[in-house]
């Protein structure tokens, strides 16, 4: 008899990829190098987290275009604003907790109020580290959704990140992107027609029995959950909403109305307070769309420390837990669909 192997605390360099999932290493860093080859205005700036936001790839390729600003997130945002004022396109990197909690005023007044072309790339969004609340940005979207002029992007995987880098370069204005870094899963390769576009939500899987609208890594979980449900004869549609703000109202309404009897689930790697779920709920209510609506997200509390798989199960955002939630509301037998 052997003791069950203890799962270790997921460190800040932990990969969110499940075993066997294809991955790409540092997709943001490599995509930025590629974009920078064509555009000399791109510069990289960080607050002592170059290696932890995959910006080190850019730093190695373009040492003279890389600015190590020190562990000073307020300065990072101000200096990014200054760089943008002089016509450059700064990609500034830190962790989501520090961008949202510590540097808010500087992003708001120095960058967003003046619509400056600064791209804020923040790692460890939501629950992607086991280090506890100091590093878990479970409310960053809630914090930033109220900031005018700021575009918020929550990419699903390496494919999304690669495409979003060029999209951000082509887009003139401030962007906040929730970065997945290190060995990042490749999931969207499976959908050859998929293209990331700022401001667009895209249907990935059609399904008549339920709809999941998701962003970030929860789109991966939604796809996996849909696959598993399909084995039991339940068709779960998945719409990937990589841009949280501005929300693609038109596409979301159209998708929900296509099968008006489907329950709608919004899945996000974020607190159920103030994120994609509430954003879509208010859209549906404003438009008079009445559906069974449930959120799959993190609870409104400071989360625990530990191994990510354990924590994702505990807080209901692992594929297994997503399936469980879906099963409460959806069945292959239409007669047992509960009334909520």
């Amino acid at each position: 008899m052997s003791a069950k192997k203890k799962l270790k605390t997921s460190a800040m360099i932990a990969s969110i990829a499940d075993e066997g999932t294809p991955t790409t290493s540092a997709p943001f860093g490599h995509a930025l190098v590629k974009a920078a080859e064509k555009n000399p205005k791109i510069v990289g700036m960080t607050a002592d987290l170059g290696k932890y936001t995959d910006l080190h790839i850019f730093a190695q390729a373009y040492p003279d275009r890389y600015y190590q600003m020190g562990m000073a997130e307020q300065l990072l945002m101000m200096a990014g604003a200054g760089m943008a004022r002089e016509g450059f396109i700064p990609f500034v990197t830190t962790y989501s907790v520090f961008a949202s909690r510590r540097a808010y005023d500087f992003i708001c007044l120095a960058i967003a109020e003046e619509k400056l072309n600064v791209k804020i790339i923040s790692a460890l969004p939501g629950l992607t580290t086991g280090y506890g609340p100091s590093h878990q940005a479970t409310e960053d979207v809630a914090i930033f959704r109220g900031m005018p002029n700021l575009t918020i992007i929550d990419p699903c995987d390496a494919v999304d990140i690669e495409q979003s880098v060029q999209a951000m370069v082509d887009f003139d204005g401030p962007v906040y992107l929730r970065l997945l870094r290190g060995k990042v899963p490749r999931v969207l390769d499976r959908f050859p027609d998929y293209r990331f576009e700022i401001g667009k939500a895209k249907r990935l899987i059609d399904g008549k029995d339920a709809l999941i609208i998701s962003s970030g890594l929860m789109t991966t979980r939604a796809i996996e959950a849909s696959d598993q449900m399909k084995e039991n004869g339940v068709e779960v549609g998945v719409m990937h909403c990589a841009t949280i703000k501005p929300l693609d109202n038109e596409a979301i309404l159209e998708e929900v109305r296509r099968h008006p009897d489907r329950p709608v689930f919004v899945a996000e790697n974020h607190s159920v307070v103030g994120g994609l779920g509430e954003s879509i709920a208010s859209l549906l209510m404003r438009e008079g769309v009445s559906v069974t609506f449930r959120q799959i997200g993190l609870p409104d509390e400071f989360l625990g420390a530990g191994a990510l798989p354990t924590l994702h199960d505990l807080y209901g955002i692992s594929t297994k837990e997503v399936v469980k939630t879906l099963e409460q509301y959806v069945s292959s037998d239409e007669d047992i669909m509960p009334t909520i």
């Binding site: 020190g70 200096a79 604003a81 200054g82 004022r85 016509g87 007044l109 120095a110 109020e113 003046e114």
Partner: protein
């Protein structure tokens, strides 16, 4: 050749004295329009602005966004009334705008914002932003191999903000010799005297310790200001420079110079004309 009392420096001082007088007068007229305003600060910093705009800065009044201009960043948004006065005197803003100061649709809002006003480089008001933005712009200018400079006017109260010191450290680290900070020390902030609220003296020693080339002058002494700006601009050192200017709130209007100092100096409705009259008398204008 030594300069005499009627030499070029004396005439330069006299020209700047006239500019400072006009800046003070424009500011008082704006204050009169609204019946309020940060005129105490404007009167105090007028000499610093006269030397900045009419001695130091490279600018084209007809093209406030001229690429080769020096950038003057006002992080203390509430000093906008003073900067508007300087921009009017410089010909960047039309003098008639004074009549609409702070009114609906005016290009001169009471707190300085980049979108509203030609020549207003940044949106100030959330204190502790200007110098950090200046660091980024100075880095950007170096990338472009530009000879332009960044000037940032901040206040002693703004030294309370930790973000200011992140920028102070960074400017020295990056050897930003194209960045000149100007600190208006009037020893007054919102609640009380700056030295009482949170004492930062000895201010000069702190900047020097952070690696800056530091000057401290009487900010109401035009000759001292000219020397400090000249030295700061001509220095061959690779350090950023700071000119710390001790100023007197209300300077140039005797009854305001001696009035109890507050952040928002009180001027009664019937006192605006008195203030303008006293200012004219101080400058010998009938």
């Amino acid at each position: 050749m030594s300069q005499t009392a009627i030499g070029p420096k004396a005439s330069a001082v006299e020209a700047l004295r006239q500019r400072a007088y006009k800046i003070r007068r424009h500011a008082l007229r704006m204050g009169e329009v609204q019946g309020q305003g940060y005129v105490g600060q404007a009167l105090g910093v007028a000499d610093v602005l006269a030397v900045s705009y009419f001695h130091a800065l490279k600018l084209d009044p007809k093209d406030p966004e001229w690429e080769e201009r020096d950038r003057f960043l006002l992080s203390i948004g509430h000093y906008a009334i003073a900067l508007y006065a300087a921009l009017i005197e410089a010909g960047v803003i039309a003098e008639e705008e004074i009549e609409d100061y702070g009114s609906d649709d005016s290009i001169l809002p009471m707190s300085g914002m980049a979108d509203y006003t030609p020549g207003m480089e940044i949106t100030g008001g959330s204190l502790g932003h200007g110098l950090g933005i200046g660091v980024g712009m100075a880095l950007g200018l170096k990338r472009k191999e530009s000879a332009s400079r960044i000037f940032n006017l901040l206040s002693d109260g703004e030294l309370n903000e930790g973000s200011t010191w992140e920028a102070v450290a960074s400017a020295a680290h990056w050897k930003l010799d194209n960045l000149i900070a100007i600190v208006d020390v009037n020893d007054q902030q919102a609640d009380d005297k700056s030295s009482t609220v949170l004492n930062y003296e000895p201010i000069a020693d702190k900047w020097t310790a952070f690696g800056w080339e530091t000057y401290r002058v009487n900010g109401n002494d035009l000759e001292a200001l000219i020397d400090a700006f000249d030295n700061a601009m001509e220095s061959r050192s690779d350090k950023p420079r700071v000119i710390i200017c001790d100023t007197l709130m209300g300077r140039g209007v005797p009854f305001l110079e001696t009035r109890d100092k507050t952040h928002f100096i009180r001027v009664d409705e019937d006192e605006w004309s008195v203030a303008l009259k006293q200012l004219d008398e101080v400058y010998g204008v009938q």
